[in-house]
């Protein structure tokens, strides 16, 4: 028996309905097979991101300038001086970039970890925790105590005397501290890895 609708028409699929369904099915199949390309277009391979490889015992070298790659001497820094440094032999990885600052030893306050400082030398990750620019040292020549770390991109300000606490701007967390000490031959050596997360917190 043939099924019919209320008006007595044949309930079988018409040619047009079949054609429409066929096109939709083909479209769905083609789209589905192409979806796998989306995964291909967004590789998950770790080509970036900040993974620091600095370790205790690495010596400090200049990150830029004329003396790029040469060892730092503690005696060349006065209170209020700062420089960007890399651990020796590990300058290919920007995550290892460190802002080294020399301050008066008496000026350190919590939450600075004093055991990670030596003779006024304190070091922080140089990668801004906002959007990953390299921070800079804003030196106040008249009043060294008023100097601070500032990111040139969106003006996040960090206080080097207080564990790089965020004093203003959009950075969500402080720069991670890293241990340094002056070794017997007057060069500087890292004594730890970073104390916290580095780079943008997204």
């Amino acid at each position: 028996m043939v099924e019919t609708d209320s008006e007595g028409r044949d309930k079988k699929v018409t040619r047009r309905q079949f054609a429409r369904g066929f096109v939709l099915a083909a479209l769905a199949a083609a789209t589905g097979s192409l979806l796998s390309f989306l995964k291909l277009l967004a590789p998950s391979k770790k080509g970036g991101g900040y993974v620091a490889t600095v370790a205790a015992g690495d010596r400090l070298v200049y990150a830029g300038g004329n003396r790029q790659g040469s060892l730092l001497k503690a005696s060349e820094f006065k209170a209020g001086d700062a420089v960007l440094v890399y651990p020796e032999g590990k300058s290919g990885n920007e995550a290892n970039l460190v802002q080294l600052i020399r301050l008066e030893e008496s000026e350190f306050k919590a939450p600075t970890r004093k055991e990670l400082t030596d003779q006024g030398f304190v070091a922080y990750s140089a990668i801004c925790t906002h959007l990953g620019c390299i921070v800079g040292w804003i030196k106040d020549k008249k009043d060294p105590e008023a100097s601070y770390i500032e990111c040139p991109c969106h003006n996040s300000i960090f206080n080097p005397e207080q564990g790089a606490r965020v004093m203003g701007g959009p950075a969500p967390i402080p720069l991670a501290q890293i241990g340094v000490k002056v070794s017997a031959d007057g060069t500087l050596v890292f004594t730890s890895g970073f104390s916290g997360p580095i780079g943008p917190q997204v």
């Binding site: 967004a42 998950s44 991101g49 140089a126 959007l131 003006n155 965020v166 203003g168 943008p200 997204v202």
Partner: protein, 419 residues
Amino acid sequence: MIAKWFDERLDLKKFKEKFLNKAFPAHPTFLFGEIALFSFITLVITGIFLGLFYEPSTGQVSLFGAMVPAAYASVVKIDLLPMGVIIRRIHHWSAMIMIAAIIAHLARVYFTSAYRKPREINWLIGLSLLAVTLGAAFTGYLLPYSQFSVTATSIAYYIAKSVPWAGDWISRLLFNGEFPAHGTVPRFFFLHVMLIPIGLITLIGAHLLVLVKQKHTEPKANSKRKAAQGGRRLIGIPVWPEQSYISVSLFFFLLFVVVLMATYIPLNPIERYGPPSPVTPVMRPDWYFLPIYGFLKLIPGDLSFTLLGSKITPEAIGGVFFPGILALILVAIPFLDRASSPQNYIENPLHRPFMTSSGIAGAMLLFMTTVSGYIDVLHIAPASMAIYVVVVTAAAWVVSYLLLRLYSRAAKKGEHVKS
């Protein structure tokens, strides 16, 4: 003779009657769209020149004895070609003019309410054109692979990564991995020289087709003349010859201005930025990204919360939600301010207090967030600047609204007296 040969085969007379007689309402504010189009043409021509020499690779090569990325080296070499630096600057200037012209065009359409029925479709195509053009500008930032390029792109990478829920995937899709990945430059190059231009050409074509089909809006003053003529046709000058003369003159004059600026005003001096290095200089994006850049500076770092299992960071608020909400408002405008019957006349902005003052407030918001990009030079604390932004934007709305209300009431009274 030649025209006749083609006419016999292609029936050009019919084409001329149909399209070359299309009427243009002659009004100077109707030229912004053309300026955008002509800038695009200049961009394509200069882009072809640059593309013949550019090398989309971050592999290290030797340049004057130093090892630098191949992309950077190839752009330095372009600058050293005869006229090379001028052509690169023409390209950059044209991009800025194109964006400015699109925004001016959008403002003209907004303030005269030309987005209303039946022109909602072209409003949306126009907004897509703005978005895709900004995409073209952004992908172009990275290509010289200077310190500026890498810093700007890195910031954008982390903004993309901060998109709630899907940020990780979106950032890897756009940047072909985690920036700085080797795949980013080739992908941006292909987007910049192939996909985005194809998208722009398609959208421009659609924009013009809809325009030809729907015709321009025209000044209200035309309505009486039209009524007297008893016709529905638009009053204006025909595409050929009048409008074509204006357009061609405009194109060459624009080219003259751009070449003049490119010759005397340096832009993006990559030799001064240098190749990527571990020092971020103080730098700002081109003017059209300044509102987002400034807004990012205003969001305090501790302003973050969790929403439906995803962390909403300050970066997402400034870099994703702020431009996203602005874009949504623009998209929604023709569906909020609707006309019941097709509108073909320019509305006088002075007679639309709410919409006009909202437009002025929107422009003021963009201006104040641009100023926020300079708080480091102006020595203003982010919190105070945020207050200024809100207060000035709100004040702009209230003052312009009240003034326009007064004006339109006085104008109505005047009409009443006259009649």
